[in-house]
Symmetry: C2
Subunit: 450 residues, 2 copies
């Protein structure tokens, strides 16, 4: 659904609920795809949310909606309703990998309460999944596998397939021996075309591409896209079949990896927008700034020492590279964040405000340390020229703040006037920033030094 | 297969072929997945390639290998063998979308020869697909659709499913009316669980998410990942079912889009590495450089005009921003290209040489125009200071060449010493580049001006 359709659907349902047209609303909602319901539910106030969920009689659909809404919605729902028994039933209908993801983020008390209300099978499945490291195949796999044995006939296989209730997604049939060792794989078209009395072991492909539970998710994504698979079996170190990873989860991995990569190319990271960067984020960035600083100071030395034909005031030029590279780096990070937010449709006032505050704070901290270094350096190097270092500190500090704002908002305005963002952003941002920054630098210099 | 496994497999087969151990080689090759065969075949000389292909009796597998190897391999194969009849038969086994992709890139004569040897159905399918614009859903879809009618029973549907020979990938069953209008969709698990005598129209989900043939591939990717589909039906403007897009093709779109986006974030583009940028690429880049230039000249004016307390030689500082932003932009583009090449496993001497030559040429052209502008500007602005503009032109020109090399090779060395490339690259490249560039600038200035 596009943003527009989403808005329309939200308004229609809101109107129906306000008019009390219950049967119409019910009719509309039951016909919607769970993804669409999940995308509009957060827009409603709490009582309307309950109302919408109560219209759905299909518990599988409710489970699907909860798995898409994620654990913060679930957490809120539990807090408001305290209905653990019903929620445990709903969660039992969620695929095991998504169920583990939901429970992982809950408070321990809530998670334990829900687990204790599930059947033994379902709760132990989830407990097992929760033990895998977050970036491994184990954490991505679902334990609902459709598997059959080698000695089964095609006719029986199809019969079993028709009676299977748990496996939601059947793309391949995995064949195991009596010890649950993965022996082969058969695709559905292959199975269908075979004669009724053929045995599965005669049909199956033996050399199954598989991963172990502790394989990285990047490798899983690479294999799935290289071989065009829709699912990939996961085994333990003894080749026992443990689970299956489906292509929809792989697409999420590919998209997350791609976003993280694009952010890194812009010297930013996802943690900058999710607000969980904190001090670790600053430390990581500080290294980049220190490299720029060191380079800048070396250039300063080069300019002042080697070329003594310069007038004493000429040393001001030595700080231009530091200022330009600082503002350039900040602006680049901020444009990357801004373009990311727009591409995700997240450029909303509340978020923008939170991100800007966060970035201004970390910029202030980095600016403080940088300025301190400048003062110390200038004191030992040009102790007869204290005014110069003061001018540099002041203009550096303000230039950094201007960079945060310019880097963030210029891509937004470029998009408003429909200029291809990503390509034009860098030079355009630098254009305005350089002029502003150097006006500021020279303005301060003139006021203080002259 | 990892690069290592690929190398091992290649050496094993090479050894078997050299020893004349035909039956062993045959045995090994027939057991391999078509993806694996396709990944090693280009490593062999022509006669070995023919040998390997001749071992495969399964024409479907050969078709799969050709579709993965792409049209440049096919073009070569046709040139060496001239066996159009056999190739037409092989291509008929390739899915229609891939077949269209293969033929699109061939010479018109070859493509027409192959089409004329195919059955009427297969050749008209491809001709129809070739008419869709490259970035639309139509160009991505396959015309092999498994579709059934509303009045069919579940029992008959399963029977038809088992007899279907054309559709290679069956994830959903699309239900159409007698005019081929898309009416509904049923997933396989749903079909299997239903009673034998239910009609499809009682089971199907009516509100099918679909795209039209001229929808953008980005929108297709968004829908597939939002709804977790494994396939998406494509209709024409009258809602007639035209084809189906499967998730493997969508993954390719997602990856290409992500790569193109990451390249753009680094101010580069895929055409820089594929060598099809040419003059259009230079024109696009020229705009960025002109913006930097304009900004730099304004800064120059600011520095020289507004702050007249500067000594006359002080104007040298006015050109520092232009030089730094130029080298920064070039280095950023080159690191982006370098990181892309490494991430794709394409960092090979022949390619590296071709890319570097291309980039050095386009840099020379841009450098020439930029230098010309500097000379003209400096002539009108500081006609008493011709030496200054000469020094700037010389150092700018050389600094640009250094930037190409430093931007390209520093990420490579960072990877050799295992530093997280993408994050560290920017500051480290600028560190070395700034020092080198400004040493060059001041060195030239001193030699020429003093």
């Amino acid at each position: 659904m596009s943003l527009n359709q989403q808005q329309n659907l939200f308004q229609t349902i809101q109107r129906l609920l306000r008019m009390g047209a219950t049967s119409n609303a019910k009719n509309l909602i039951t016909k919607l795809h769970p993804t669409d319901i999940a995308s509009i539910i957060p827009l409603f106030p709490a009582e309307d949310q309950d109302c919408i969920l109560s219209y759905l009689y299909d518990i599988k659909k409710i489970a699907d909606i909860f798995s898409r809404l994620g654990s913060s919605f679930l957490k809120n729902y539990l807090k408001n309703h305290q209905d653990y028994a019903r929620m445990a039933k709903i969660l039992e209908m969620v695929a095991s990998d998504d169920r583990a993801d939901l429970l992982k983020e809950l408070d321990d008390v809530d998670a334990q309460a829900l687990l204790s209300l599930m059947t033994q099978d379902n709760s132990s499945e989830v407990s097992a999944l929760l033990q895998y490291q977050e970036t491994t195949a184990g954490a991505l796999m679902s334990t609902e596998i459709f598997k059959l044995t080698e000695e089964m006939t095609v006719q029986n296989a199809i019969k079993t397939l028709r009676e299977a209730h748990k496996a939601e997604t059947i793309y391949y049939i995995y064949v195991v021996d009596e010890l649950n060792n993965l022996k082969g794989v058969i695709s559905l078209p292959q199975l269908f075309r075979a004669k009724d009395d053929s045995l599965l072991k005669e049909l199956m492909f033996n050399d199954v591409v598989r991963v172990t539970v502790d394989e990285s998710q990047q490798e899983v994504a690479r294999l799935v896209s290289e071989y065009d698979f829709v699912a990939l079996p996961v085994v333990d170190t003894n080749n026992k079949l443990m689970g299956v990873i489906t292509v929809d989860d792989v697409i999420d991995v590919i998209q997350e990896t791609a976003q993280e990569h694009a952010m890194k190319m812009g010297q930013a990271s996802i943690s900058d927008v999710e607000g969980d960067g904190g001090l670790r984020g600053i430390r990581k960035k500080l290294a980049s700034y220190m490299i720029i600083f060191l380079g800048g100071l070396i250039i300063c030395e080069v300019i002042t020492d080697f070329y003594q034909w310069l007038p004493p005031e000429g040393i001001f030029a030595g700080f231009i590279p530091i200022i330009l590279r600082f503002t350039g780096l900040i602006a680049r990070q901020m444009s990357t964040i801004s373009i990311y937010e727009m591409s995700q449709g997240l450029f909303l006032p509340k978020r923008v405000f939170r991100i800007l505050i966060g970035q201004l704070c970390s910029t202030a901290i980095i600016g403080f340390f940088s300025s301190l270094t400048v003062v110390v350096y200038a004191f030992f190097r040009f102790h007869d020229n204290f005014k110069l270092s003061l001018a540099i500190v002041i203009s550096l500090f303000f230039a950094m703040f201007i960079s945060v704002l310019a880097g963030f908002f210029i891509p937004y305005f470029l998009r408003k006037i429909r200029i291809d963002l990503t390509h034009a952003t860098g030079p355009v941002v630098n254009f305005f920033l350089d002029i502003l920054t150097l006006l500021l630098y020279f303005g301060t210099l003139i006021r203080i030094v002259k």
